[in-house]
């Protein structure tokens, strides 16, 4: 009975939320003067406060880019840290305008929660880390290995699927927290450590000798992490989507934070359309024509953001891998601005 009541209440609330979502989010944001962005409560490289309490990270940059496009000021963002349980409610109830919080885009979330998922700003997936001295180059050689992982997560299920599908023998050593897991791996309780690839690099830094360990190339699950907004406000969705696409396009065209002012004089029609010196693409989505210029000037292109937060320029040193541009063998692909 309690469950029934609960579902009625939640269902009613969703209907209410969905009904109100067609209200113009952009106008609300503009009149409020600040973008409310649902962020992680702390994830290395994606959303993390520094010593002065400023948010930094790949997801954080996405929010700042949206604010830059709207207000020409990347600091007009209020980050609302949300736990994994709170995040969808906060979006549905209008507490946040957009959710950029390493949220995996799945069919059920896309279709059942009254939400819309947008471009993937990071393609994550479960990976493996082993000791270099084992001389293993591929996950296919892991037969008979003992694997350290965290209890009760999808990680554990993916692991079982992978080893069963490839007919490899393995032994799971599971722990309650990620800290315990990495400590056990460091102490030699198991041969392999597994979690999402972005996490592997962060955890590796905690090892006694990080350089003695290697992340294997195989990714055994799909975790597309992207932005989400409320169903029904397509104009707002366009702004969120094209903010990411503008950053990717800028990287593709070689427009960076440093050279964007020079690029304004470029004769390349693609660059001209991106930076708004030709066409009225910004006005079409309810912004100004220099919307992309603002993003690149104030935040940078996708490559710069990636490099600064999780890539070679950060401590995590995550390889671009599948997050490279499509022209370099990755999955980051932006539809043309024309």
């Amino acid at each position: 009975m309690k469950k029934v009541l609960m579902s009625v209440a939640v269902g009613a609330a969703f209907v209410m939320a969905a009904g109100s979502a067609s209200a113009q989010t952009l106008n609300q944001v503009k009149s409020r003067g600040v973008l409310q962005c649902g962020s992680n409560t702390g994830l290395a490289g994606f959303g993390q406060p520094d010593a002065q309490g400023n948010w930094t990270g790949l997801d954080v940059d996405y929010c700042r880019a949206i604010a830059a496009a709207i207000f020409n000021d990347a600091s007009k963002v209020k980050f609302v840290p949300l736990s994994a349980k709170d995040r969808f409610t906060a979006l549905q109830s209008g507490e946040v305008d957009v959710l950029v919080r390493n949220t995996t885009w799945t069919m059920s979330r896309d279709t059942q929660l009254g939400l819309e998922f947008g471009p993937v700003n990071y393609y994550d997936g479960q990976g493996f880390m082993v000791r270099k001295k084992l001389k293993i180059a591929s996950a296919m050689e892991l037969s008979g290995a003992s694997v350290c992982t965290q209890q009760g997560t999808t990680t554990e299920l993916n692991l079982a699927d992978f080893f069963r599908a490839n007919k490899l023998k393995y032994e799971v050593v599971a722990f309650a927290s990620s800290d315990e897991t990495i400590k056990a791996y460091d102490a030699g309780r198991c041969d392999v450590f597994t979690t999402d690839a972005s996490g592997l690099y962060a955890e590796r830094l905690k090892l006694t000798a990080p350089d003695d360990h290697i992340v294997l190339p195989e990714i055994i699950s799909k975790e597309p992490l992207g932005a989400a907004w409320r169903h029904g406000d397509n104009q707002w969705g366009d702004i969120v989507k094209w903010t990411h696409y503008a950053m990717v396009t800028a990287e593709e065209l070689g427009v960076t934070k440093a050279n964007v002012d020079e690029m304004l004089k470029s004769t390349n029609p693609d660059v001209k359309r991106l930076l708004g010196t030709e066409g009225k693409f910004g006005e079409a989505i309810g912004l100004t024509n220099d919307w992309a210029y603002r993003i690149i000037k104030l935040v940078g292109n996708y490559g710069e953001s990636f490099d600064r937060n999780v890539g070679a320029g950060s401590r995590l040193k995550i390889a671009r891998g599948v997050n490279a541009l499509w022209s370099k063998g990755g999955l980051q692909y932006a539809p043309p601005i024309r």
Binding site: A13, P49, G53, V80, S93, L205, K206, T208
Partner: protein, 385 residues
């Protein structure tokens, strides 16, 4: 027979002064005797002492080594705390030093942090005024603590344009400051509310009694974490779209109501412990209900419940750490977030962060407990006569 009839003066020896008191034998005093009395008085105690000494021998040195002797005190990033030549260093205090401001102020704008310091100072003055029994004009102190301080803190921390203080959204509050704000509000709100609920529960008026019992039993029947989830996840769904209640405020209300239900039961225990004669005596004096409560009943009831009240306060202080689950950056959450920063990723960073949290929580809770003990000793003087 001559010799028997003698005067005192002719006695061979009469002691003029009392014999000097000799010290007890060596086996009954001194450190040796203390050790024998307290540590080795029976076979069972001998066994306990040996076991305890062994546990201390194996744990204390490594504990001290980790926290002090092998610890890293200075450094700018993880390089300072990573293993060198395969040897993992002790606690990474350099990490705590670098992030201390974040632990205390959270996201509060750096140039406005003097306001948080001011809040700490005003709070300390209020606490000292209330707790130091010889302080002058404690009646004014009471008003200061219960009225002036909360209002002043609200404007100092939240800001107000008419005061020339830049408004600071509660989303930017964090760290120890939030822990103290939440615990402070819970402590200040729960005692008066709890007393009213306890009186309501013992009231002879059925409606008041019914609602008091309903509230107390309902709130006691759900865990705090559920109250917080309700406040944070469900409440926004039921409110109209353009009304958003501040996240911290929702949690504050939740914690305040939760603590007052527990406080009500503590106070009720005190009310019931008083003999009926106290009530009857007060009524025979012609006192009205509120006069009776204020002058006769509550002073005695609260006195006997001091240990339980402080127990509830300590529990409340520690419960504030549950706020991290609903995404509010309290002290523990600030440490939780900082410890996963790659800038400080090292083998002992997490342990150090947690050790620091334990030390700070211990200082606050032990402080409260010590004050309560001193208070009890002072108030129980009358009972000992």
């Amino acid at each position: 027979m001559n010799t028997q009839v003698v005067s005192a003066s002719s006695k061979a020896y009469v002691r003029q002064v009392p014999a000097e008191v000799l010290p007890p034998p060596g086996s009954l005093i001194g450190p040796l005797a203390w050790v024998r009395d307290n540590l080795f008085s029976s076979p069972a105690n001998i066994l306990l002492t040996v076991v305890a000494a062994f546990v201390a021998y194996i744990s204390i040195p490594s504990f001290l080594n980790f926290l002090i002797f092998d610890a890293v005190w200075t450094g700018a990033d993880r390089e300072a705390c990573i293993a060198k030549n395969g040897v993992v260093p002790g606690a990474c205090w350099a990490f705590v030093r670098e992030r201390l401001n974040f632990f205390i102020y959270g996201f509060y704008p750096v140039d406005q942090r003097w306001r948080v310091d001011l809040f700490f100072v005003l709070g300390a003055i209020g606490v000292a005024w209330m707790l130091w029994l010889k302080a002058p004009r404690r009646d004014i102190g009471m008003i200061y603590f219960l009225v002036v301080l909360p209002v002043a803190s609200y404007y100092i921390l939240g800001g107000a344009n008419w005061l020339g203080l830049q408004p600071v959204d509660t989303a930017r509050w964090g760290g120890l400051m939030v822990t103290l704000v939440v615990a402070g509000v819970g402590i200040v709100a729960s005692l008066p509310l709890g007393i009213l609920l306890a009186l309501g529960r013992r009231s002879k008026l059925p409606v008041i009694k019914f609602f008091s019992v309903l509230f107390i039993e309902f709130v006691r029947g759900v865990p705090l974490i559920t109250v917080l989830f309700m406040a944070n996840t469900m409440l926004p769904l039921f409110l109209p779209d353009n009304i958003t209640v501040d996240k911290l405020l929702r949690a504050l209300v939740g914690i305040g109501l939760f603590a007052s239900a527990y406080m009500a039961e503590v106070v009720r225990a005190g009310l019931q412990a008083l003999p009926k004669g106290q009530y009857e005596g007060a009524m025979a004096m012609g006192l009205g209900y509120w006069q009776m409560m204020r002058l006769i009943i509550l002073p005695q009831a609260l006195k006997v419940t001091i240990p339980n009240i402080v127990n509830t306060y300590i529990g409340l202080f520690k419960d504030t750490s549950l706020l991290l689950i609903v995404g509010i950056f309290d002290f523990l959450k600030a440490i939780e977030t900082a410890r996963i920063d790659p800038q400080w990723a090292a083998p002992t960073t997490s342990t150090t962060g947690y050790a620091f949290a334990a030390i700070i929580y211990f200082l606050f809770c032990y402080g409260m407990a010590s004050y309560a003990r001193a208070m009890e000793r002072r108030l129980s003087v009358a009972d000992k006569r």
